[in-house]
Symmetry: D3
Subunit: 247 residues, 6 copies
Amino acid sequence: MSPMLITVINANTSDEMTQAIASGATAVAPPGTEVRVVCPPMGPASVESSYDEALSVPGLLASIASGEREGSDGYVIACFSDPGLDAARELAGGPVVGIAEAAMHTASFLGRGFSVVTTLARTCGRAWDLAERYGMRRFCRGVHACGIPPLALDTDPAAVQTVLDSCRSALETDGSDAIVLGCAGMSEWSDKLTAELGVPVVDGVRAAVLTVQSLVTMQLRTSARTDYAAPPPKPYTGLLRPFTLPS
Amino acid sequence: MSPMLITVINANTSDEMTQAIASGATAVAPPGTEVRVVCPPMGPASVESSYDEALSVPGLLASIASGEREGSDGYVIACFSDPGLDAARELAGGPVVGIAEAAMHTASFLGRGFSVVTTLARTCGRAWDLAERYGMRRFCRGVHACGIPPLALDTDPAAVQTVLDSCRSALETDGSDAIVLGCAGMSEWSDKLTAELGVPVVDGVRAAVLTVQSLVTMQLRTSARTDYAAPPPKPYTGLLRPFTLPS
Amino acid sequence: MSPMLITVINANTSDEMTQAIASGATAVAPPGTEVRVVCPPMGPASVESSYDEALSVPGLLASIASGEREGSDGYVIACFSDPGLDAARELAGGPVVGIAEAAMHTASFLGRGFSVVTTLARTCGRAWDLAERYGMRRFCRGVHACGIPPLALDTDPAAVQTVLDSCRSALETDGSDAIVLGCAGMSEWSDKLTAELGVPVVDGVRAAVLTVQSLVTMQLRTSARTDYAAPPPKPYTGLLRPFTLPS
Amino acid sequence: MSPMLITVINANTSDEMTQAIASGATAVAPPGTEVRVVCPPMGPASVESSYDEALSVPGLLASIASGEREGSDGYVIACFSDPGLDAARELAGGPVVGIAEAAMHTASFLGRGFSVVTTLARTCGRAWDLAERYGMRRFCRGVHACGIPPLALDTDPAAVQTVLDSCRSALETDGSDAIVLGCAGMSEWSDKLTAELGVPVVDGVRAAVLTVQSLVTMQLRTSARTDYAAPPPKPYTGLLRPFTLPS
Amino acid sequence: MSPMLITVINANTSDEMTQAIASGATAVAPPGTEVRVVCPPMGPASVESSYDEALSVPGLLASIASGEREGSDGYVIACFSDPGLDAARELAGGPVVGIAEAAMHTASFLGRGFSVVTTLARTCGRAWDLAERYGMRRFCRGVHACGIPPLALDTDPAAVQTVLDSCRSALETDGSDAIVLGCAGMSEWSDKLTAELGVPVVDGVRAAVLTVQSLVTMQLRTSARTDYAAPPPKPYTGLLRPFTLPS
Amino acid sequence: MSPMLITVINANTSDEMTQAIASGATAVAPPGTEVRVVCPPMGPASVESSYDEALSVPGLLASIASGEREGSDGYVIACFSDPGLDAARELAGGPVVGIAEAAMHTASFLGRGFSVVTTLARTCGRAWDLAERYGMRRFCRGVHACGIPPLALDTDPAAVQTVLDSCRSALETDGSDAIVLGCAGMSEWSDKLTAELGVPVVDGVRAAVLTVQSLVTMQLRTSARTDYAAPPPKPYTGLLRPFTLPS
């Protein structure tokens, strides 16, 4: 049997972020599964706004199209705003899971309520939107910004301590049981934070890779019965070739 | 005083659809308001999937960027999936309203419940998502597909009768008070349908133009206090120039 | 074409409040629209309780009955508890909009969340009820009382500063994007408050007048298909004549 | 100890309806409790619309004011739209319970879901509103109109059979466990319907009388801590004397 | 007519708690009603966890089985986590009401919002679950632990003051109108607390006894139409005899 | 490294059901993971009511206590009513997942809505309760009973066809994208049903085993911060020894 191939897509074009994602993704991949972490061919340097998020989607879909040609069994969208998830599900043959989606579901197995600790304050609204979309609003007790931009997580030596402080404060304020890390760039710190905080700290990258692994193991793929069927082919004017749907 | 300028953006690249939108938009514009209906420089021929919707957003944002240079006072996103609404609000100086958003709010003033009549079955889920997002789920009693693709609304001579039949059936099934037209391409028919059905039929294009007109009259614009502040500038790799944010 | 006539009904019998309402209502009326602000023939001096609200409704309905005889095209109920809205919709031929209703919908176009700043603490519950009724609970992040009774808004020279302070505090506490003014008597201050606060401040009187203006422009009126059909005629014992429905 | 006095207020001016209410109310009153069923001094002949409901409230509040002078320990509002409930709670010293409120709560103790069987189709929306207000929406699986106007319940010999048929159909359609009777005028039939249907049939008049009985027994009265405090005294122009609050 | 028999079941095996429950239950029973307060033959010494709650259910069901043999007309489950309520409804011929259920419903008649004051912090989640189950989430503004274990309520002389302080703080924090006592062991204090606090304080034991009294008076019993029908008979391995259903 | 041990607990005492569960559970266990499927020492022959469910919990908790002594890393509760889940989480050191919980979450990754196909009609209410508890109500479009008792799934040769027919009908009625199998006894049929129906069919046994596998891989365990902390030790009267907590 050929090994399972899971493609993990960073939604921005930062190599450092791609490395951080790879560290979490490969940490949990079992023998027999290849995890391929990719950076899309176009898009924003980081996702800090709805504008950035919207402009990350074409590149992300191009990466899915590439993955399809390479025989990928499933996909992880490795940005906590889960950009383009519906479109990706239409495009991909195998399952697609976002890291916010996977992290929130995972946290719901571990306690009555979780707190999300994210980067900039302006991303909090999106996290609440996603909690509602996934049915996780009843478990999500708070979304807290640590104030560090995504790309500075990697370069600011004080970042991990700031995130740790935000987690402590979030647990206290929300009376919650667990932490959900609100940025793929925090993936490397989940073990350290769990150890320091004494509560489960969920990294969406790990959680999403394992969710896709489980779905593929059960031979479950996105239903094509209604809205997630393959998109009807048509001309796309003025867009680069990778977005042309395979006929 | 200079006239008010409202830019109405068709999210696909079809000229026929742009014409249909223009007919509704100009029908309600008061003297002293210029309504400019534009077709984006890139994007899908029609929006029939989440994939199409995602790929319509870059062109739509380019049209907003153009509108900002031209001094537009406000914007209408004239596609019933309201693509890119959050991103557009970050980018634009004036208010931005989607036609699904405006139509649903408008219908809520006219009765206890409305039915949406849309094009293809695969777009129904998105309409429900939007009803929830806007708080209109309690008023939205059903979303019904008439089975006609968006571009065929204009070319199929039987389309208006099919939509009328779908409206009748929706009113009966849902016990609702009003109809919301679920595609910008149906804009031309709202008066005819109101007359035939004897209930209010809401065209989102008209509703959105008047909503923007009202917001500008009240000098109200999108709040920049939290998530809708202007996006932080940054490099966007591999994307066409129009997406580069004005510095 | 005859000009559009919009009747704006103050729900209490205070002339000063009627003046304040008129200032907001006429500020936004376009050329070709006559806005008539009326004070009902009977009712409470101010609306500060559910008891007052209940007793304001007969007079308010009498004003609608008068408006119908005068050919009014639509109505605004200019009291933030939107008293008698359902009954008014049954009675009137044209659309009827409440100022809480219009203000909350309007604020939902401008940000992710708004705060209501109202008069007495005992009216907060009613504001929450209305937010829920209109589907705006997801946008309404807080209802804050400034502690000033409605009629004192006009006579207390410190009132505007107190309201401004309440708005500042509400924005901070709720993390919201916009303010909804919770009393018709605050209508005169919306521009001043917007300027001071740097966020959109929505006056329901202006918003409701423009909403009715838009509905009439689109030739949309309350659906008579189900609950809002004209009430069945019958005897009303012991009540003044204006309330007897014309047969 | 003086006997407990419970005042049950019919919201319309029909003597036949008052009789029907009295039959249910007195059937459950224990020894030591006097139940006084009253007809208000003014109001509509029947409540069939929001307009009727609004115009029933002044008379109903007058009856509460009379009850207060007579030392009533608690009140039942005996109309299934529970008109004026908030205002009545502000005015009365003792507890006030509506029959829709009591019936829905009661039905929630008896099964997972109930169906409401009411009179005219146009009252269904109001029943849904109340279900939501009382938190009973999760138990209320359907509201069904039998098509008989309230006053005809008493005069139409076929009415009881029509209501029985509506109950049967409602149970089947909704898969529900119990019936809530949606009009005070159906009060006489609850035992007969329970016997025929083999499921609990809840009469709001009985349920509300017993709820008030229980609250008074526990010496519990409406909280005056926030919104339900006595209304601030003030002039009421053009209204009959009973509505002026005692200072 | 034989007197009504209501069986009140303490869910733990503490005699002191059974006494406390009896004091509240008998305080409200009318002449002609016998209230029998029982302690189950097996179970935990107190209910302080979901584990305790689960292990209290077999004994509680055994008490219901005994009650059925003794001709009990209805049952109260006198533990604020309402353990085994669904199972008890299947087993009993007459109505079954939990004290959390009865207290929350009762409080909803008395104001816009209530606060629950309970024992240990770890029971707060369960109280929220129940508020949701009963549709009372919209009325429940907060659940507050006073930090005293259930059995210490009876033995710690400072307990009543601690509970009083918790009530005061809860009213302030939540802006609520009433208090719901979150443990059967607080039953004795409801009058004293009402007097001190000036707001309604609801004791679930009293409320549940009166609710059952009312249901039996109306001859209403749990519907056997769907899920609450008697359980299908079958072998129960390794469990004590009382739990075997009578064939 | 020692292999991972996952204990899967059948909630009834049927050996056939235990075999059916084992077939699904072992089908997805990766190399290096031992799956131990156990039948509790006491309890009902099948779970067909809330009464059965309540009486299955002591045996199930005994199995958890045994698992703890044997070093189990995590647990699956293999009954679609997820009995005793909260209590089990307090008792176990590692994660505990119910099959309804895992199946519903899994189905939410695969489409916009799923239908549950379960055994007897009387279990449908419980399935709805769980969908709400897990936040999956927005994805759960219908719960459908096939009418076959749990133990007959194994013995009735026509059962699989009946379930298949129920699935087809559920997909059509609900317009859903996926099927959730509503009984552990259907575990063997998931591949066959997926093949026949052309939509994802989710078996909770497989989904729960893989969810526990993933949680243990990520070293995540139930948070002990609030409600799920170990239960306070105390005497349990009249219950078998296994339920006494280890001190």
